[in-house]
Amino acid sequence: MSLLAVEALSRNFAGLRAVSEVSFCVEEGSITALIGPNGAGKTTCFNLIAGALKPSSGRVIFAGEDVTGLPPEALCLRGIGRTFQIVRPMPELTVLENAMVGAFARESRLAAAEAVAREALSRVGLLPKAGMPAAQLTLPDRKMLEVARALATRPRLLLLDEVMAGLRAGEAGAIVESLRAVNAAGVTILMIEHVMRVVMALARHIVVLHHGEKIADGTPEEVTRDPAVIRSYLGERGAA
């Protein structure tokens, strides 16, 4: 049984079908990438899975339970953590306090939450900056803080929304390593990503969306050779 199964998921916005009958599975322990040209419906799909949006139709099954339409806080408690495309550190809080917000999802005592938070920070390499106000972090560090806060909620599935966006090549490398380590420690990852190098380096399973529909689903080798995929990307470039 897959950890996450998305069945015929659809979402309309006043006549526009942002996501249309999308179905795929994410196996436990894997790193899956959700890719596609701009406006393909990737973030909408994420929001549907993470509970930030309610689907117009379709189902989301997580660990065998139908969690369709549950709010984000409920999904978090069931084991789904997520980051946001535009990073949202809590600027008035320190790095450690940000992570502790996540830790408090499962811990009620201050000391325990702090311990969990520190552990999450160390997994992404942010522990040395624990006392720094989050507002002072660089962009790569902010992204890692997002990940740390999500990790502190002890998720089984981590949804990463364009973690690499806006980063320079050198910065991306360290993050790829952190994510690999996180996955190796047992966290399943579903990531939206545009940077193909990173996708190829990390993902063993790729799902491709175009105009809200799934057009390909398989290993990196299968997907990159798929004519529909090539057309969707080339077609965009041709139109530009």
């Binding site: 930030a52 809080l93 811990e107 939450a113």
Partner: protein, 320 residues
């Protein structure tokens, strides 16, 4: 946390010595300052921590005040029972308002308008309700010569000085405890970014209701004591817009979202009021006091936007 606790102990301990050296005037002035610091601390729980702007907190001052006063005068119920009842009633009102805001997806500035609407609704209701005196007001009897303050919860300047200092201390301790607890972190997360908070497992609605209930309940108790101190209640002075705005000034000036902000703000604002009134009398210009006061608050807001507390703290940290 420990540093904060020591600070609160030092602050309150020092002020508890007040009646030894201060006269009736300064005691009653400070009692009023403590009252507004307390209201500010209660308001700060909602705004400073949860980011929920309330511009109708007068609702709780009024309902709290009238509950205690009416129970005392009309039903002979001691304020010892009246105050907790007032707190519970106002906590319920706060929860109801927060729930209503959520139910109708009213956020941000619109939530603020909701709080104002609730306060105005109550004010107009009370103005037309003969049982509480309507616009004619509700009056407490004069204190008999043998009055025992601890029994009647009414007395002279020393009594109200201690009473409001006690409430303020309790509020500071509570704020400190919340700041360093799961509730505090979650409230701040809601303030910083509600969606990120949700994604991190924070039950936003429940926390909002809790914050509003706590804030409202505290303010209600303070309102009850405030009424006992004034001796009379009128709907527009107890729950009008004027007092709702007035209690916001101390926490904003002192430092929003900080533990000591409301206290610092109130202790800054009160002397400024008195000083500017003195200057106005000396200069013989009516209204100069309101002008000076307004100007000073404006200057603080413009040049020390984080509030006096954080600015002073930053200065001290920079020096070291």
């Amino acid at each position: 946390m420990r540093r904060g606790a020591i600070a609160v102990a030092a602050f309150s301990g020092l002020l508890a010595l007040g009646p030894l050296v201060l006269d009736g005037y300064l005691l009653s002035l400070l009692a009023l300052a403590f009252a507004f610091a307390f209201f500010g601390a209660a308001w700060n729980l909602m705004m400073g921590f949860a980011g929920m702007l309330s511009i109708g907190h007068g609702l709780y001052i009024g309902i709290g005040g009238y509950t205690v006063a009416v129970l005392l005068v009309t039903f002979g119920v001691s304020p010892w029972a009246g105050l907790p009842l007032a707190g519970l009633l106002c906590a319920g009102l706060g929860a109801a308002i927060a729930w209503t805001g959520f139910r109708f997806a009213v956020r941000g500035v619109y939530f603020a308008l909701l709080t104002l609407a609730a306060a105005e609704l109550a004010r107009i209701l009370f103005e037309h309700w003969p049982f509480v005196g309507g616009t004619g007001g509700f009056f407490l009897p004069a204190l008999p010569p043998g009055n025992v303050p601890l029994l009647t919860l009414r007395g002279g300047p020393e009594f109200f000085y201690f009473a409001f200092l006690l409430l303020l201390t309790a509020a500071l301790v509570l704020t400190l405890a919340i700041r360093h607890s799961r509730m505090g972190y979650r409230l701040m997360a809601i303030r910083e970014d509600e969606d990120a908070a949700r994604a991190s497992g924070v039950p936003v609605l429940r926390m909002r209701i809790a914050a509003a209930a706590l804030s409202g309940g505290m303010t209600g108790i303070g309102g009850g004591l405030f009424a006992l101190m004034n001796g009379s209640l009128f709907p527009n002075t107890m729950m009008g817009v004027a007092i709702s705005i007035e209690i916001m000034i101390a926490p904003i000036v002192g430092g929003l979202g900080t533990v000591f902000g409301p206290a610092i703000g109130a202790l800054f604002v009160m002397p400024v009021h008195e000083l500017s009134e003195h200057l106005a009398q000396e200069a013989g210009v009516f209204g100069l006091n309101t002008l000076i006061y307004g100007l000073l608050v404006l200057l603080v807001v413009l040049f020390l936007p984080a509030g006096i507390g954080p600015s002073v703290a930053r200065l001290l940290r920079g020096r070291r």
